[in-house]
C-alpha cells in the first residue's frame, strides 16, 4: 500500500474540518477600517465658515477624546444626523466638523437651519482628508483619543440607537 494515495483524502478531511467549523460560526459581514488604532493623519484645514475657526490634527491632542464628523451641507443623511449630533453635544462631547466640498454660504445656511454642534469646522475642498482617512462616504464619524489616535469609525449617519454606542466608545478612549 502506497501512503501517497492517502494524501487526497487527508487534504479533503482538512477542508471538511475547516468548512464544518466555519458553518457553525456566525457570519460577520462588516468591514473593519484599516485606520482604526492608527494615528490621525496630519492636516491643517481653513475655516469652512467665517464665524468659526478651521480645524487641524493638533486640535485633537490633549483634553478629552473628541469626535471627528465628516459631513456636507449638500448631504441629505447629514440633515437626519444633525439632531443626534446635538444630543451628543448636549452630553458634553466635543465635535469637530470637516465640511467636504462645500461653500461658506451653504455651510452657514445649514448650521442656521439644523443647528451647530461643532466647536470647529475645517473645509476639505478636495476631499484630501477623506482620502487619508479612508472614508467611504459622507457622513462618517471617528472617535479620536487625546493622543490623536483613531479608536472607532462609524460609517453612515448616526441614528438614535448609535448614541449610547458612541458614548461608550468615547468612554473607552478616555482610559
Amino acid at each position: 500500500m502506497r501512503w501517497t494515495l492517502w494524501i487526497p483524502l487527508a487534504l479533503f478531511a482538512f477542508f471538511l474540518g475547516v468548512a464544518g467549523y466555519m458553518l457553525t460560526q456566525p457570519k460577520d459581514d462588516s468591514i473593519p477600517s484599516q485606520m482604526v488604532e492608527k494615528q490621525l493623519p496630519e492636516f491643517e484645514l481653513p475655516a469652512a465658515v467665517e464665524t468659526m475657526p478651521g480645524a487641524s490634527s493638533a486640535d485633537f491632542i490633549g483634553g478629552k477624546p473628541k469626535l471627528l464628523n465628516i459631513w456636507a451641507s449638500w448631504c441629505l443623511p447629514c440633515i437626519a444626523e444633525a439632531k443626534q449630533l446635538e444630543v451628543l453635544e448636549g452630553q458634553g462631547v466635543e465635535i469637530i466638523g470637516i465640511a467636504i466640498r462645500d461653500k461658506p454660504a451653504d455651510v452657514a445656511d445649514f448650521l442656521e437651519r439644523y443647528g451647530n454642534p461643532y466647536t470647529r469646522i475645517g473645509a476639505d475642498d478636495i476631499s484630501q482628508l477623506m482620502l487619508d482617512l479612508g472614508a467611504s462616504g459622507v457622513p462618517e464619524t471617528y472617535v479620536i483619543d487625546a493622543a490623536g489616535k483613531i479608536t472607532y469609525q462609524h460609517i453612515g449617519d448616526i441614528r438614535l440607537e448609535h448614541i449610547p454606542l458612541l458614548l461608550e466608545k468615547l468612554d473607552e478612549a478616555t482610559q
Binding site: 475547516v18 468548512a19 466555519m22 473593519p32
Partner: protein, 668 residues
C-alpha cells in the same frame, strides 16, 4: 392530488435507489454465480430504469403544479403567481432551491436509467458497481429533498395569490442557466459512478473509457455553455464593464470545468492507448468533488460573493455531509484500491500521450490555483483574519501554468501516439513560433500594454493557426467528425483568448460628469448626452440617459443606459447599454448625479467603455461547446457503426457455423 402523486413517486424513487444500491452491492460482494445472488444481480438494471421513471413522474407533477398555479402547494405560492406568463411559470419550477434539487435528481435518475437500459459494453460486474454507486449518490439527494426540502409541501389553507411576480427574475437567461449547469454536474456524477465502478472491480480498461467518454463530453459541453452564459450575464447585468471577477460563485463553476477538461483528455488517452488509468479515475472523483464543492460554497454562504444567492447554513451542512460521504468514501476507496491498478501502457517523452499528460498536469495546477484562491479566505477567516483574493493573485499565477499549456496545446494534436520525433513536426512548429513572436513584437511596438495581454494576443494568434494544422495534408471529407470537433474546440479557445487579451489591452474607458448637450470622445466614438429622463416600469422606476453615439463622424445611434430602482424587494440595479459592432462593443453606464456646474445645470456621471473584440470571448465559448457537441456525435456514430459491424460479424460467423453444421453429416 397531483402534489401527492409527485411526493409518492419521489419516495418510491428513493426506495428504488436504495434497492439499486443494495442489490448492486450484494451482487458485487457474492459475485455473479447463480442462486440467490443472481437474483440480486438481476434487480439492478430494472431498479435503475424504474427509478428514472418515478423521478421523471415526480418532476412532471411539480411542473404541473406550477403550470396550473396550484396555490395550495407552498413552493408554488412562494415562487409563482397566476398572472405570470406560462413560460416563466414553467421555468419557475426550477428557479428555487427545492425545485432545482428535484430537477437535479430527476436528470440524474434519467441518466442512470439510460445507462441501465442501453449500456451493454462493460463487464457485468463493473456495470453493477457503477449502478450501485449511482444509487448511492442519488439516495443522498433523495434524502436531502425528502427530509429537508420537500417541494410538494401543502399549505394548511390555500393562499389567495402567489408571491412570485418579480420581473427581475423573469429573464430567459436566468431561466436556462441553472439547468445547463445541473446537466453538466449530473454528467460528472455519471462519470464519477463509472470511475468508481471501474475502480471497485479493477476493470480500468479502454472500453470503460469509451463508455464514460460521451458522458464526460456532454457534461463538459453543458458546463462550457453555462460558464459562457454566466459570464455574459455578469458582464451586462452588473454594469462594471468586466466579464469575470474571480468571485467564489464564478470559481465554483470554473473548477468543475477545469477538472472536466482534464478528465476529457485523460479519458481520450485511456480509450486510445490504455494509459493513465489511476489518473483518469482520480480526475473522475475530483470532477464531481468540484461540482459538489461549488454547490456547497454557493448555497451555504460561508464565502461572501457579489452574486446574491438564497443562502442557508442548514442546507450548507447537508451538502457538506453529502460531500463527506461521496468524496470521502471515493477517496478512501481510491487509496485502498489504486495501488492494485497498474499504470497501463508506457509511452515516449515525445508523443501525443505526453503532450496530453503535460496539459493535464497544467490544467490540474490551474485548478489547484483557483481552488486555493477560493478557499484561502475561508481558511484565514477560521483564524479571524479577513482577506480577499482577487485578480492580482489569480491572473498571473494561473498564467504561469496557462502559457506553457497553450504552447503544448499547439503541438500536441500534431504528434503521433506512443512515440514520435520532434523533427517530424518541425516545420509547422516554426511557423506557429514565428506567428507568436511576430504578434508579440508587433503588439509591444504598438504600445505599452500589460505583459499578460501581449502574451495572450501572441498565443491566441499562434493557437488559432495551430488548431487547424491537424487537418493539413488530409482529405477533408475523410476526417472523422470527432477530429473536426477537436479542431473547432481548440480554435474556440484561441478565439476566446484573443477576446480576453484584446479587451484587456485595447479597452478605452472614460468616466465623465456631463451636462446635457455635452459630448466626450472615447476611442473613435463621439458620445453626446442629450438628456436624462425619469421613466417607470411595472415595479421599478429609473433614470434613463439618452446618449447618442457616433463613430468616426458617422450616423448617431441612440444608447440608453438606465439606473433602475426596484421597490419590491428594494434593489438598485444599473442597466448598462450595449452597442455591438463586429470589432467590439460600446458599453455605457449611467451613474449618480454629480452636482451642478457654475450655471446650475445638472451634471451626470456617465461611464463609457469601448471594448475591442470583447464579444470574441463568448463566441469562443460557443465554438468550444460546438466542438464538444461534434465530438459526441462523432464518437457515438463511430461506436454504433462498430457495434453494427461486430453484430454483422457475429451473424456471419453464426451462419457459417450453421452451414458447417448442415454440411457436417455429409462429410462425416
Amino acid at each position: 392530488m397531483i402534489a401527492e402523486i409527485g411526493l409518492a413517486a419521489l419516495w418510491l424513487a428513493a426506495a428504488l435507489a436504495a434497492l439499486q444500491l443494495l442489490a448492486g452491492a450484494l451482487a458485487l460482494k457474492h459475485g455473479y454465480v447463480g442462486g440467490a445472488e443472481r437474483d440480486f444481480a438481476r434487480l439492478v438494471r430494472p431498479a435503475a430504469i424504474t427509478q428514472a421513471l418515478l423521478a421523471g413522474i415526480s418532476f412532471v407533477m411539480l411542473l404541473w403544479c406550477f403550470a396550473i398555479t396550484d396555490l395550495s402547494v407552498k413552493l408554488v405560492v412562494t415562487n409563482s403567481h397566476s398572472m405570470k406568463p406560462m413560460l416563466y411559470k414553467i421555468t419557475g419550477t426550477w428557479g428555487n432551491h427545492e425545485g432545482s434539487m428535484l430537477l437535479w435528481v430527476a436528470v440524474m435518475a434519467l441518466s442512470g436509467g439510460l445507462i441501465a437500459w442501453l449500456e451493454r459494453r462493460l463487464p457485468i460486474r463493473t456495470m453493477q458497481a457503477t449502478l450501485a454507486t449511482q444509487g448511492f449518490v442519488a439516495l443522498g439527494f433523495y434524502a436531502f429533498l425528502l427530509l429537508s426540502s420537500n417541494p410538494f409541501e401543502r399549505l394548511p389553507v390555500p393562499a389567495a395569490e402567489g408571491q412570485g411576480l418579480n420581473p427581475l427574475l423573469q429573464d430567459i437567461g436566468l431561466a436556462l442557466h441553472p439547468p445547463t449547469l445541473y446537466i453538466g454536474y449530473v454528467g460528472l456524477s455519471v462519470a464519477f459512478s463509472f470511475a468508481l465502478g471501474a475502480l471497485l472491480t479493477r476493470q480500468v480498461t479502454p472500453e470503460f473509457a469509451r463508455v464514460m467518454r460521451p458522458w464526460v463530453l456532454g457534461a463538459w459541453v453543458f458546463l462550457t455553455l453555462g460558464i459562457t452564459a454566466g459570464s455574459y450575464w455578469a458582464y451586462y447585468e452588473l454594469g462594471w464593464g468586466g466579464y469575470w471577477f474571480w468571485d467564489p460563485v464564478e470559481n465554483a463553476s470554473l473548477m468543475p470545468w477545469l477538472a472536466a477538461t482534464a478528465l476529457l483528455h485523460s479519458t481520450s488517452v485511456l480509450a486510445a492507448r490504455d494509459a493513465l488509468r489511476t489518473w483518469t479515475i482520480m480526475l473522475g472523483v475530483v470532477a464531481l468533488s468540484m461540482s459538489m464543492l461549488g454547490t456547497f460554497l454557493v448555497r451555504s454562504g460561508v464565502l461572501t460573493s457579489v452574486h446574491a444567492f438564497a443562502v442557508d447554513p442548514e442546507r450548507g451542512s447537508f451538502i457538506l455531509i453529502l460531500l463527506a460521504l461521496y468524496i470521502g468514501g471515493a477517496l478512501a476507496i481510491f487509496a485502498l484500491r489504486a495501488h492494485s491498478i497498474s499504470e497501463g501502457k508506457r509511452f515516449a517523452a515525445t508523443s501525443r500521450e505526453s503532450a496530453l499528460v503535460f496539459n493535464n498536469v497544467m490544467l490540474s495546477a490551474i485548478l489547484g490555483v483557483v481552488l486555493l484562491g477560493t478557499l484561502y479566505p475561508l481558511l484565514t477567516e477560521a483564524f479571524d483574519v479577513r482577506v480577499s483574493v482577487g485578480p492580482p493573485y489569480f491572473n498571473p499565477v494561473s498564467a504561469i501554468f496557462a502559457v506553457p499549456m497553450f504552447l503544448v496545446m499547439a503541438v500536441g494534436p500534431l504528434l503521433r501516439w506512443k512515440a514520435d520525433r520532434a523533427a517530424r513536426v518541425q516545420v509547422p512548429m516554426i511557423v506557429v513560433g514565428i506567428v507568436i513572436v511576430g504578434v508579440l513584437a508587433f503588439t509591444a511596438y504598438l504600445g505599452d500594454y500589460s505583459i499578460l495581454a501581449v502574451l495572450g494576443l501572441g498565443l491566441a494568434a499562434g493557437l488559432a493557426i495551430a488548431s487547424f494544422l491537424p487537418l493539413r495534408g488530409r482529405k477533408l471529407t475523410r476526417i472523422p467528425i470527432a477530429t473536426w470537433g477537436m479542431v473547432l474546440a481548440h480554435f474556440g479557445v484561441a478565439v476566446s483568448l484573443f477576446g480576453m487579451a484584446s479587451e484587456s489591452a485595447f479597452t478605452k474607458e472614460r468616466l465623465a460628469a456631463m451636462i446635457p448637450g455635452e459630448s466626450v470622445a472615447v476611442a473613435d466614438w463621439q458620445i453626446t448626452l442629450d438628456g436624462v429622463d425619469p421613466i417607470a416600469g411595472p415595479n421599478w422606476t429609473a433614470l434613463e440617459a439618452r446618449l447618442s453615439a457616433s463613430r468616426a463622424g458617422g450616423e448617431a445611434i441612440a444608447v440608453t443606459p438606465q439606473a433602475r430602482t426596484f421597490w419590491a424587494p428594494f434593489q438598485a440595479t444599473s442597466e448598462s447599454a450595449l452597442l455591438t459592432r463586429w470589432d467590439g462593443q460600446l458599453y455605457a453606464v449611467l451613474g449618480d448625479s454629480a452636482g451642478v456646474d457654475q450655471e446650475g445645470n445638472q451634471r451626470w456621471q456617465v461611464r463609457i467603455w469601448w471594448k475591442p473584440f470583447v464579444t470574441f470571448i463568448w463566441y469562443g465559448g460557443l465554438l468550444i461547446s460546438l466542438g464538444g457537441a461534434l465530438a459526441i456525435i462523432g464518437r457515438l456514430t463511430k461506436d454504433l457503426k462498430r457495434r453494427r459491424a461486430v453484430r454483422r460479424g457475429d451473424e456471419k460467423r453464426e451462419e457459417a457455423r450453421e452451414l458447417a453444421a448442415e454440411l457436417e453429416p455429409e462429410t462425416a
